[in-house]
Symmetry: C2
Subunit: 87 residues, 2 copies
């Protein structure tokens, strides 16, 4: 079965996000002074083959932990959904 | 009223995503050969002050178009929600 996963990886809340801070302070230059507290992370989409939803979720979790996320500085959350109905 | 917005910015589907491709081909090295078609973009969260939901959405759209997204190469989608109930 084919699944699609959507992963959000963000800097940990306790850490400064200099990129987000730079964007926040530039918002007023384009006339959007009401926008603040910008934090910038990664959004990753992928497709995978797995027997069922639980296996798909465990594969995505493993990919996040081993390859996609630096867990010292980042946290992740993800959402997996089936692309096809069971045959 | 305070709103929080969550924005996903992804490379346009028609464009190659070399970073995603590199990650895809590394998945088999960590034993996750079933994962492919990885695409990597940005996930941005921010907070803003606006009179109502419609105004908040229009501000976020403007921020995406003017500052956050390179519309030649990227597309965005976002979701805005109220952080507090109306007083």
């Amino acid at each position: 079965m084919k699944f699609s996963a959507s992963i959000d990886i963000m800097p940990l809340p306790a850490l400064l996000d200099p990129q987000g801070k730079a964007v926040s302070s530039n918002m007023k230059n384009i006339g959007l002074a009401g926008i603040g507290n910008v934090r910038i992370g990664k959004h990753i989409t992928l497709e995978l083959e797995a027997a069922n939803q639980a296996e798909a979720e465990s594969q995505v979790k493993e990919a996040c932990e081993k390859l996609l996320t630096n867990q010292i500085m980042e946290q992740f959350e993800f959402h997996v959904e089936a692309l096809e109905a069971v045959a």
